[in-house]
Subunit: 217 residues, 4 copies
DNA sequence: CATGAATGAGCTTTCATTCAT
DNA sequence: GATGAATGAAAGCTCATTCAT
């Protein structure tokens, strides 16, 4: 049963191994430039095996996105929904936990990749819009609405406000994955400091004066 | 001969027409996804003719970069070298004229494109690093050094300082060329306002207190 | 054990279920376009199991042919050998019983299929020639020889005579399985009438005048 | 200019050479089993060149059909329209000229091929139905209508009547291209005799007694 | 100079067959 | 016996580059 078990384990691990290899390569080379054979190789299987688990390159990519981005919105949504503290702290928590769970991982390469290739793959662009951008925006919008409803945040244009939060995170993701930043250690942004600095500005802009304890910021 | 003259003119215009078509397509589709045949078509010549002027797709791209980015550093360098006003104003002039001459044109798509594809084309990455990033950095660095030397700017880590200026411009370029920003009019950044706002922060951070007239900022 | 028994039964039924599924699909899609996995699926077993019973796709096909065509020649041969009536009636019986046992069943799709694909699978062509065409021709030839020997039929070129009988049956089989005939109900041949009509002509051509009772024809 | 001319000639000959090679191979192996590379090879060009003239295997096949079957209906239609003799002779002329121009050529392999593969390629089936079957049926139908209108032919169900003419030609085409008939010289139908024999039966069935001179038939 | 026909390496996807369990 | 995960040889199609004209 030893071997049986080993095989079973491998079988169940396959999709994960393939998704991991695919994430690596998609982030490293982009969607179009990644060859499925290379994904298979890196996962230690043959070309044919990959197609046993994912019917096409496109579906493989979608699965990678679901695994690393869109599949997590449900959990995050719940987490934020049941958050007890101030909205100001929720925004802080939101950005920092985004860094921990996405920004600091390879998954942060996906937004960068999509920015570059969405135009060439309309089907993927549509998928990404529906499964990532839309839910992500909604999530942030709900946080802002919570702040406004609780009297913590000033009235604001919600759509615009969403990008106030999103843009700094996107930029950080892009920066991390642009070749220039890697080679040059002098510019390597310290993500925590960057996020803190952004948060200062953002929260100062969002919160109603005096309504929130901002001593120390 | 009328026709002779027209032909001559066309002949001399060829490279320019090709470069213009190539810029359009490279920015629209990226480097890899752009087919040389389409470039030729858009320029109104045959595929063979394109290779008459540019020995390879790579050289075509390099020429596009030279035409639109690196080729202008000499002029800019001189311009900034002979600038008479305060360094603070020079920085303002620098960022605004960058927007006028690059940011607002299709050329601003090139940095975005390179960010996405540099990894797949090391030769191009090297070229871009040498012909654009390095000179650009140097230019900015010299401006900062001028500010420090004249006692306008505080002492600072030059490398890091360069990115203080560069990053906002890069982000603006990326934003402009990302599909998301186009569709959503709510987020469409007003470039001038964006630049002004960035300049406020940047200059406040760079200038020595009281040494510079910052009334109204 | 109930289950044991059921399992045994299933086990013994396996080859039959596979052959039935294979016949369906071969007839529907042709030999090359039929995927063994689909055959297995339709038979309710896994791909591996199919290869347990039939060592290759080719052998599977041969088994289908044996089951539905060549395997029956022995019985038919005996049946015709011991036929008591006139050869004219034997021919009638022959064609009608061919329709009942082959023509009206899916098996009639095999000759059509072979006509289309024999050229691409020489091994199968050889097998089919030896196991179906040759025995079939011999059977018909012996019937014709019986007619001649008994003074019922005129002298005739036997080889040519064989096709006088075979051709109308083949055409009927082809017609039945050609997509054109299915959709167009106006042309849907009534097989019985078709066979009767063909028999009239054929027998009139074969029988010696006045030697055979053809009143009513 | 010698070479120029030679090249021009080759360029103009290419599509024809490719269509000819394609016809050969499609007829020999069927649509699915024919590899485009082999078509190119037989035409003496590379794989890529084939795709220069035909955007896909499917379009290549359609072009073959147009070149050899559907493209000729216009001419035939006119020819039959302006026919001066009796409709009985027109039918004779029709079948014999079909043999000369299609039946005796490789083109007669196309109907056989379609019969076998139409089910697997719906797009092609639709195309063939529209461009070959429909026009062909219409042509025959108009001939029959002419016979009826001129009082030469009896009243008849037109749709059924069409197949009275079509079926024997199809069978001849199938027969010619079935491997069985080639190898066995004993059965090799003499097409002229076959057609004559069929015409006798058909015309006897269609013509009104005594209305047409049928001495000698 | 300008052309565009020709090339062929390279990519995604399919499927008969094997074999460890 | 039965399974189904794994394989890898094809096959259709693309596109940068060459070169005869």
């Amino acid at each position: 049963m030893q071997t049986r078990a080993r095989r079973e384990r491998r079988k169940e691990a396959r999709p994960g191994e393939l998704l991991s290899a695919a994430l690596d390569l998609f982030v490293e080379k982009g969607y179009a430039a990644t060859r499925v054979e290379e994904v298979a190789q890196r996962a230690g299987v043959s070309k044919g095996t990959l197609f046993l688990y994912f019917p096409s390159k496109e579906e493989l990519f979608k699965a990678v996105v679901r695994e690393n981005l869109s599949g997590r919105f449900a959990e995050w949504s719940q987490e934020f929904e049941s958050y007890q503290g101030s909205t100001e702290d929720l925004v802080r928590y939101c950005m920092n936990s985004w860094w921990d769970r996405v920004g600091s991982t390879k998954a942060s390469g996906i937004p960068k990749l999509m920015m570059g290739e969405a135009g060439n793959f309309p089907e993927l662009a549509k998928f990404y819009q529906e499964e990532v951008i839309q839910p992500g925006n909604d999530l942030i919008k709900r946080i802002l609405q919570r702040g406004v409803a609780l009297g913590e945040f000033r009235q604001l244009d919600e759509t615009y406000g969403v990008y106030t939060i999103l843009a700094p995170m996107l930029f950080l993701a892009m920066w991390k994955h642009s070749p220039g930043s890697c080679g040059d250690p002098g510019i390597a942004l310290d993500p925590r400091k960057y996020i803190d600095s952004q948060l200062q500005t953002i929260l100062r802009g969002l919160c109603i004066q005096g309504n929130s304890a901002r001593k120390g910021l």
